[in-house]
């Protein structure tokens, strides 16, 4: 597969077309109907959660949030392949993957409401916290990959970055380290065409992003990131490749951010309606659904029935997050060090003294 889709040839791995028809059966991943249906429903759930979050934000009930809308197949594919033991080292636009890893929506909501406690992820094993400084998490993935190799564990690291993030020096260093170490890391670029307002054409002159793999002597592949099947196939093969000691893999998932960069962003400033409509045709859920309906695995009726359940479930998480309660003063000081330095202790005491005075006023 890596040969056929050598990124230097600028080919794109695609399995189904925009109408959900299989156009390259050869690359269809082996999945049971149950798995396929579950993947769709998980993506549907993630989309619903995403859309509702944007709404919560409009209601002023949550702070800035980076929507995943339109990019669900990328996380959906990783969710499909990733095992319990594998590592997930995220950027911040991979909701479906977090949920698959065992993170809860409540935690995610708490994080974006401004609770560090939203980063505890009690049931998510080997899940790194969301990383805000672009591309800086990729080097962590390389280091984790080293640990896996050193300890001869049977694990893979999945790590994410955006198209914009490929410009950062840390992108370069991460891929290079992982390659030199033959670390079992799958790097996934979500090429959603923009870094905030900046189009990919301003980020790089390379013919595609997957081709950057060549600079590190690693395998790279460009994939239709809105095609769940193609993405799953690519992630499967990449994961096999990485696990077998042949080194890391770079996947460029070509997708589109249908929503705003974050809830503070207004995309009409930098892109046209026409462009958006063009991409709408490739919507990952629509395509997937058409495939399922055709196969009689799913129907509008079922979708109509399940969506209200999803909404209720999502809202339940949201309300739980909203009711999480106080952020105690001690939590500001508690976690920086394993033992609290005197400076921190006395600063806390001083502050408490002030609070007492204030109360007394």
């Amino acid at each position: 597969m890596f040969k056929t889709f050598d990124p230097i040839k600028n080919k794109t791995l695609r399995v189904i077309d925009n109408e959900g028809k299989i156009i390259a059966a050869k690359w269809m991943p082996e999945l049971t109907d149950e798995q396929i249906l579950k993947a769709y429903k998980d993506m549907l759930f993630a989309r619903q959660a995403d859309l509702m979050t944007v709404n919560y934000q409009r209601q002023g009930r949550i702070y800035t949030y980076p929507p995943n809308y339109g990019q669900e197949a990328v996380s959906g594919a990783v969710a499909q392949v990733m095992r319990d033991d594998d590592w997930l080292v995220p950027a911040f636009r991979e909701l479906g993957a977090y949920l698959a890893k065992g993170a809860t929506l409540q935690e995610m909501f708490m994080y974006f409401m401004g609770y560090e406690d939203g980063s505890i992820f009690k049931n998510a094993k080997n899940f790194a916290p969301i990383s805000v400084p672009i591309a800086s998490q990729l080097v962590h993935a390389a280091g984790i990959g080293y640990e896996i190799k050193y300890k001869k564990k049977d694990q893979v690291v999945y790590t994410f970055v955006g198209d914009g993030g490929t410009s950062e020096g840390e992108f370069h260093e991460a891929l290079n380290f992982a390659a030199v170490w033959d670390a079992p890391v799958v790097f996934i670029i979500q090429n959603n065409q923009y870094g905030i307002s900046t189009p990919v054409s301003v980020q790089t002159k390379s013919q595609n992003l997957a081709v950057k793999a060549i600079a590190y002597g690693m395998k790279g592949i460009k994939v239709d990131g809105n095609d769940f099947f193609a993405m799953t196939k690519a992630v499967q093969e990449a994961s096999e490749h990485a696990k077998s000691g042949k080194g890391p893999v770079l996947i460029e998932a070509v997708t589109y951010r249908k929503g705003a960069h974050t809830t503070s962003d207004d995309p009409t400033k930098y892109r046209t309606k026409e462009e958006e409509q063009e991409w709408d045709k490739t919507d990952p859920l629509n395509r997937f659904k058409k495939y399922l309906v055709e196969k009689k695995l799913w129907s509008d009726k079922e979708e109509k029935k399940i969506l209200p359940e999803y909404k209720k479930e999502i809202d339940r998480h949201f309300v739980a997050a909203e009711n999480y309660g106080e952020y105690p003063l001690d939590d500001v000081f508690k976690f920086l060090y394993t033992d609290k330095p005197d400076n921190l202790k006395s600063q806390q005491v001083e502050h408490e003294r002030y609070l007492k005075w204030k109360e007394g006023k």
Partner: protein, 320 residues
């Protein structure tokens, strides 16, 4: 303040073809805080443009531009994302003039929003001015009013020395002030006495000035007369203004959002004791952020320094 800085950039772009403005999303978008809004339209894509997402590349290419005679003004989208450029700042921006014995000038301006109070995600709330101030060879400026922002920015652009221009994002749009539309400058390295008083000197800058003013009003009611100094330049630091104020009041409190240890306040205290030890009636005090990471929004109120807390600290110092 956003408009005032925008004006300063526009005036200098107009006056000097060597002035170039770039950074992440500063072109089409006009910056995430709209500080560069409209400039690309007016001056074209060669002079105001979006760069790749790479801070070392932004700062480092600006070093090259400055060496070649341009006057680059770069934006770091948030000060919390300036750190990939740290190597360029400490290894080249601050050193090129000294290294080349003045052969290469370094007319370099790095703008960046900093500070807390906007309910932001991680890395969007920090105040690391002391780190920049400790690096020999750069100037570090923080305005607290639209007027100063404009005048200091014009000074920064016209200076052949590198200037790090930190913008208190919390008050980007909070302070309404008529600003002279013409070209004017505010000198870098001079503090401003915001209000005179005889009982205590309070030194602050950026978004803290407003809070100090609230505290001063509270103190006034208690009969305490506060002299407020807006530092404006972190480096060079205006020893003279600090010294003459504290010699008069005998008491000094420094307020900043940044962590306490190795922060700006310690330096102000040191200056006070160096310049006015025998006039001191109380130990030079500091009221600063904790030595912690700024909490996410739900906990940020614990960290935030309010007028109330400043008032409390003023009273403690005065009663010492």
């Amino acid at each position: 303040m956003v408009n005032a800085i925008n004006q300063a950039l526009e005036i200098k772009l107009e006056q000097d073809k060597n002035v170039i403005v770039y950074g992440e999303d500063v072109g089409v978008e006009g910056g995430v805080f709209r500080v560069t809004e409209g400039l690309q339209k007016k001056f074209g894509k060669e002079r105001v443009f979006d760069s790749p997402l790479a801070e070392a590349g932004i700062a480092g290419s600006a070093v090259g531009m400055a060496m070649a005679g341009l006057k680059p003004i770069i934006e770091m989208q948030f000060s919390g994302f300036s750190y990939p450029a740290f190597n360029q700042i400490i290894s080249h921006v601050s050193r090129m003039q000294n290294r080349s014995r003045g052969n290469f000038k370094m007319p370099f301006v790095m703008r960046m929003p900093y500070g807390g109070g906007i309910n932001a995600l991680e890395h969007h709330s920090e105040s690391m001015e002391a780190i920049w101030g400790h690096i020999p060879g750069i100037k570090v400026v923080i305005p607290s009013t639209p007027h100063d922002a404009k005048g200091l920015m014009i000074s920064a652009i016209e200076s052949d020395d590198p200037v790090i221009f930190m913008e208190p994002k919390r008050i980007y749009r909070a302070i309404k002030q008529e600003v002279n539309e013409d070209h004017f400058t505010v000198p870098i390295g001079k503090a401003k006495v915001v209000s005179t008083g005889k009982d205590i000197t309070v030194v602050a800058y950026g978004a803290m000035i407003r809070e100090v003013q609230k505290a001063a009003a509270l103190a006034k009611k208690e009969g305490i007369d506060v002299e407020i100094i807006d530092l404006r330049s972190i480096y060079p630091i205006d020893r003279e203004t600090i010294a003459s104020s504290v010699m008069k009041t005998g008491r000094i409190l420094t307020v900043h959002e940044a962590p306490a240890s190795f922060g700006v306040a310690s330096e102000i205290s040191q200056i006070a004791i160096e310049e006015a030890f025998l006039h001191l009636e109380a130990p030079p005090k500091r009221l600063t952020g904790f030595d912690t990471i700024v909490p996410l929004p739900k906990g940020e109120h614990h960290y935030a320094i309010t007028g109330d807390k400043i008032f409390y600290e003023i009273m403690r110092t005065v009663k010492y």
